[in-house]
């Protein structure tokens, strides 16, 4: 698998061109993802602008500590993913496999913490729908809108994490079988782009969902 001949697809002139095309294709996919999430961020922007008080109040019901821990977990997973790409580039198979496994563990930890947060929201009747209840009746509808956006945005993000963990598992298997070499590591590199993109989405979700009411001192927490 390692010699340049066997990994070069016949429609490319050379490995450089093949690699360039792969990266470009992945970035074009990521641009569609930016706009996919962008629709939700646009909806968030409009409703936050229309109902700033309710959004700040509702955000106080989110667990900032768990959100911050998850942010750190995801940043750690981005580091291990970057190191996995490095491992494949220098042909260090053990480093590659170890870092891919660490990334999976961190990704699973993120999802576990997210699951706990969701469970709390169900217990507190903060999931939009007929069971939704809110301590301040005058803000109820607008707070429900906040939680609709919260679940849609973090849910779509979590779905991307689940898919990412699945792809990483396939990569571990392939790396174990010796599929990758310093000549050919495109799947590791492109999965890295995807994983870091998902990290970037969370980097925006964390302050926009968890931190917008903090300066109110948590006084209005019900």
């Amino acid at each position: 698998m390692s010699d340049a001949h066997s990994v070069l697809a016949h429609h490319f002139d050379n490995l450089e061109q093949q690699r360039e095309a792969g990266t470009l294709g992945m970035w074009i996919f990521l641009v569609t993802e930016v706009l996919f999430f962008g629709g939700l961020f646009t909806a968030y922007t409009i409703y936050r602008m229309l109902y700033p008080v309710a959004f700040a109040d509702a955000s106080l019901h989110l667990d900032t500590t768990l959100g911050a821990i998850n942010t750190a977990v995801l940043i750690c997973s981005s580091l291990t993913m970057a190191l996995a790409v490095y491992g494949s580039q220098v042909g260090n198979r053990m480093l590659l496999i170890l870092c891919l496994l660490l990334t999976i563990v961190l990704g699973a930890a993120f999802l576990g913490i997210k699951f706990t947060e969701y469970a709390h929201k169900f217990a507190e009747h903060l999931v939009p729908g007929s069971a939704f209840s809110y301590g301040k009746p005058e803000l109820r509808q607008q707070a429900e809108l906040f939680f609709s956006l919260y679940f849609a945005m973090t849910g779509l993000h979590a779905l991307h994490m689940v898919i990412g963990v699945g792809i990483l598992a396939v990569l571990v298997f392939q790396a174990w079988r010796g599929h990758f070499s310093p000549v050919y590591y495109a799947p590791v590199e492109l999965t890295g782009l995807y994983w870091h993109f998902v990290d970037i989405v969370w980097i925006f979700l964390f302050p926009l969902l968890y931190l917008i009411g903090l300066h109110l001192g948590g006084a209005s927490h019900v």
Binding site: L35, A72, V90, H196, D199, I212
Partner: protein, 100 residues
């Protein structure tokens, strides 16, 4: 493209910077700056995103074509949010024709 291999030292420096910025964004969120809170939060988030894109995603070492595609994505996002807001923010400015 990223034929260049980024050293592990660069990755670790960026990693530490990202953790520090996360801590800073949390601490600043505790202080009441009015709408300034949102501006600071978005500025820090954008800086973090830029660090991830440039170093972890190797954009800094990628071809000009990749730069254009990447920047194009965020340009379209700006169009979507900007034009939508230009509608919502200006709805109260004009009365319907003949309505004065």
């Amino acid at each position: 493209m990223s034929e260049k291999i980024v050293s592990t030292k660069v990755y670790i420096v960026i990693f530490i910077a990202l953790l520090i910025l996360t801590y800073v964004t949390y601490q600043i969120a505790l202080i009441d700056l009015g709408w300034g809170n949102t501006i600071v939060a978005l500025a820090i988030a954008s800086s973090k995103a830029l660090l991830v894109a440039l170093y972890f995603m190797h954009v800094r070492y990628s071809s000009r074509l990749t730069w254009v595609v990447t920047a194009g994505g965020f340009f379209w996002l700006a169009i979507m949010i900007g034009f939508t807001l230009s509608d919502y923010l200006t709805r109260g400015w004009l009365t319907a024709a003949g309505g004065r």
